[in-house]
């Protein structure tokens, strides 16, 4: 098996390949060093910061509205699947701590076709996810406007779309021109969110167990316990678990990756799973199904109002704005890394990894992230965006598990992970089955859009990069 990538794409570019030495604090190439600057806190902030916006602030209304308290089980199922994938991803990431995350592992483990499909789907999946976060942001902004007395009656959907589009444009422009260190800000926002949520959920649990009494509105709709509905909601809310793979896209910049990558990925999945399940439990304990359904995307605001009065509503609105912003921003950052990984391997024109001389930012990649995000955000379709994002990620997750099994079998000489998933092939096989299995419970339209995206990326491979060979290379 070749140790180096080979072949050329339609433009005649070959993948960039060189031997590098990885240390705990830097990647050392022939003539230069790349500092590893993201620590465990930074990694957790990327993972938690990306995930928490959707699961806590957007989905409780939608999921709880469909099946009531049973949605807590849906979130638990999602968390278990995420964990089954996070473990194999950790092993791959510690063996290949490079930018690009899932794309890198799959292209090396399963070859160029799977790599191209996943690399481009990762990009587009992140685009769908970012658009979804932005629409969530739009709903929270609408509630914030209502809170200060600017109620928007008719045409509120259009207002949400407009806000989402403006926010998408703002994030893209800020990312191209901004050189401030937003990572520190991100860490602070995540810490603030977590403490707000712990306080809020703690109070909600006191209420649930009857230690504190608040007025819960009456309602009759019963919870829907049943494997089918629970799994179908799990497929919908799986978008709340996409963040841990974003940690892998910055694997090349993590300090001491052998230790910090697994901790950041598994730690962020476990953290958000616990918070999600609690949030659903609290929300569905206070409101019945129909009440949640009518409150929609921002049902948590009503939950906050019921628990703590106007102050509670305000906390949730501020939290929702911060959380959806941090999700969107973190996703745009990982998107540019995903595009870079693909373009370095000559699967996209090299132009895509251009760097702007004035700002030092990858403006082409950021534009390729921000442009489609704005278009999708304009649709305002929360459920469709979320499910297509989940679909594209689930394909990648399943294939990452398969890639782990394949790469362990082929055992290239360089494969020496610091973290090894225990139990042989059990975890990756279960992870792959669960990831692919969950797709079956999605809405048909989402599946069709997802398959169309995959087909388009495969078409791109046959058109542009058929001669590039990446399998088994480092």
């Amino acid at each position: 098996m070749p140790d180096e990538p080979s072949g050329r794409n339609l433009d005649g570019d070959a993948p960039v390949a060189e031997s590098v030495v990885e240390t705990e604090s830097a990647t050392i190439t022939d003539d230069a060093e790349l500092e590893r600057t993201i620590g465990l806190t930074g990694g957790l902030a990327i993972g938690v910061g990306t995930m928490i916006g959707a699961g806590i602030f957007v989905f409780p209304g939608l999921a709880g509205g469909e099946i009531g308290t049973a949605a807590a089980a849906s979130f638990a199922v999602g968390g278990v699947i995420a964990l089954l994938v996070a473990l194999p991803t950790s092993e791959l990431a510690t063996a290949m701590p490079r930018s690009g995350g899932g794309y890198y592992f799959i292209s090396r483990g399963l070859g160029t076709l799977a790599g191209t499909v996943i690399g481009l789907s990762l990009w587009l999946g992140l685009v769908f996810a970012t658009a979804f976060y932005l629409v969530g942001l739009g709903y929270y902004a609408l509630d914030a406007l209502a809170q200060v007395g600017l109620a928007v009656g008719a045409g509120s959907d259009a207002v949400v779309s407009v806000i989402a589009v403006l926010a998408g444009l703002a994030f893209t422009v800020l990312n191209v021109t901004g050189t401030e260190n937003a990572a520190k800000l991100q860490n602070g926002i995540v810490a603030l969110l977590l403490s707000m949520l712990v306080a809020f959920l703690g109070f909600g649990l006191l209420e649930a167990f009857g230690l504190v009494a608040v007025d819960t509105p009456p309602g009759q709709a019963a919870n829907v316990w049943g494997a089918g509905p629970v799994l179908s909601v799990a497929a919908l809310v799986f978008t709340s678990y996409l963040g841990f793979a974003q940690v892998a896209t910055v694997a090349g910049e993590m300090k001491d990756p052998g230790r910090n990558l697994p901790l950041a990925m598994v730690g962020s999945v476990v953290t958000v799973t616990v918070l999600y399940v609690l949030a659903i439990f609290v929300a569905t304990n206070i409101f019945t199904r129909d009440a949640l359904l009518s409150a929609g995307e921002t049902a948590m605001v009503e939950v906050g109002r019921a628990l703590l009065g106007p102050a509670g509503a305000l906390v949730i609105i501020v939290g929702g704005l911060l959380a959806t912003m941090s999700s969107a921003n973190a996703s745009i950052l990982s998107t540019s890394r995903a595009i870079y990984g693909v373009s370095k391997d000559a699967l996209l024109p090299r132009r895509a990894s251009r760097i702007n001389l004035r700002y030092g930012t990858p403006h082409v990649a950021l534009g390729m992230a921000g442009g489609p995000v704005v278009v999708l955000a304009a649709t305002g379709q929360v459920q469709l965006l979320a499910e297509v994002a989940s679909f594209l990620h689930l394909i990648m997750y399943g294939l990452m598990c398969v890639a782990l099994v394949a790469i362990r079998r082929d055992r290239p000489a360089w494969y020496d992970p610091d973290f090894v998933v225990p139990g042989g092939s059990v975890v990756p096989v279960l992870g792959a089955l669960a990831s692919f299995g969950l797709i079956a419970f999605m809405d048909r339209l989402s599946i069709i859009v997802g398959i169309a995206v995959i087909a388009a990326t495969a078409g791109w491979y046959f058109y542009y990069a058929r001669d590039v060979s990446l399998k088994g290379a480092l």
Binding site: D31, S99, R337, G360, T361
Partner: protein, 271 residues
């Protein structure tokens, strides 16, 4: 051999002044070319784009150092965090000091600060090696009240007698001993103390008449967190180059723990 790390913002027109190059003529130099990237940009991506240009600029700089006398090599790093990179590379090349480049012409006299909890012994050794047998004057400077390293008696005296002149006695003796040591090594030495004001302002007031400053590395403190590294502030206020002598007392004490300590501090370092 004494080694100095000279960080240069290689792609942002960062350069090294001729005065600093000749001042470092008697010691070995590692030129650290760095490029700080916004977090949106993967370092690897910047490397593919800028590596050639950076390397050629860096080779020019290290040739200038080599022409001035000492051995010179260079490293190129793409990073999101300049301080972390300087710390890491300084440790890896086992540098005795690192430079904060500033502008200066020919260096006739340098100001050596011994204020604060710094490794005075190492600073003096470094100054001996730096000056060598050249005709460069040295002014030893100590801000009274700041005390001196490893000088328990002076610290105690300072706390018993808060009057600045009283605290100065122990400091004066230390300063005299340090000056004698450098004179024995054949250097032209003056000594100066400052009685009042903050040690930082006093040091800046003493800068006129000197072309470069040598000072010790200080442990990060609340003050450095708020105002930035002391050495950076001295460099900004004095315009000229600053050489910071690394504090390696901690390394000496726990050489065997270094590996595990590095492990433990890694996650905390990004706070």
């Amino acid at each position: 051999m004494t080694r100095v790390l000279v960080p240069v913002a290689v792609l942002e027109g960062g350069s090294v002044s001729p005065g600093l190059i000749s001042l470092l003529g008697a010691v070995d130099v590692t030129v650290l070319g760095y490029h700080v990237l916004p977090e949106q940009t993967p370092p690897d991506q910047a490397r593919l784009r800028f590596e050639e240009r950076a390397t050629s600029a860096l080779e020019d700089v290290s040739q200038e150092f080599a022409a001035a006398g000492g051995a010179a090599d260079h490293r190129l790093v793409f990073t999101h965090d300049r301080e972390q990179t300087i710390r890491r590379v300084a440790g890896e090349v086992d540098a005795d000091a690192f430079a904060v480049p500033g502008t200066t012409g020919d260096v006739d006299r340098i100001l050596v600060s011994l204020s604060g909890d710094v490794d005075a012994d190492r600073i003096l050794s470094f100054v001996e090696a730096l000056v060598g047998d050249r005709d460069v004057g040295v002014t030893l400077f100590l801000a009274a009240g700041a005390g001196m390293v490893g000088d328990g008696a002076a610290d105690a005296a300072a706390s018993e007698r808060p009057v600045p002149t009283g605290a100065g006695d122990g400091a004066d003796a230390r300063l005299a001993a340090a000056a004698d040591r450098l004179r024995e090594a054949g250097l032209d030495v003056d000594a100066a103390t400052a009685a009042e004001g903050s040690p930082f302002d006093a040091l800046i007031d003493a800068v006129p008449g000197h072309d470069a400053v040598v000072m010790g590395e200080r442990a990060p403190s609340f003050r450095s967190f708020v105002f930035g590294e002391e050495s950076e502030r001295v460099a900004a206020a004095s315009v000229g180059p600053v050489l910071v002598v690394r504090d390696r007392r901690a390394d000496d004490e726990s050489d065997e723990d270094v590996a595990s300590a590095a492990d433990d501090t890694a996650p905390a370092a990004d706070e």
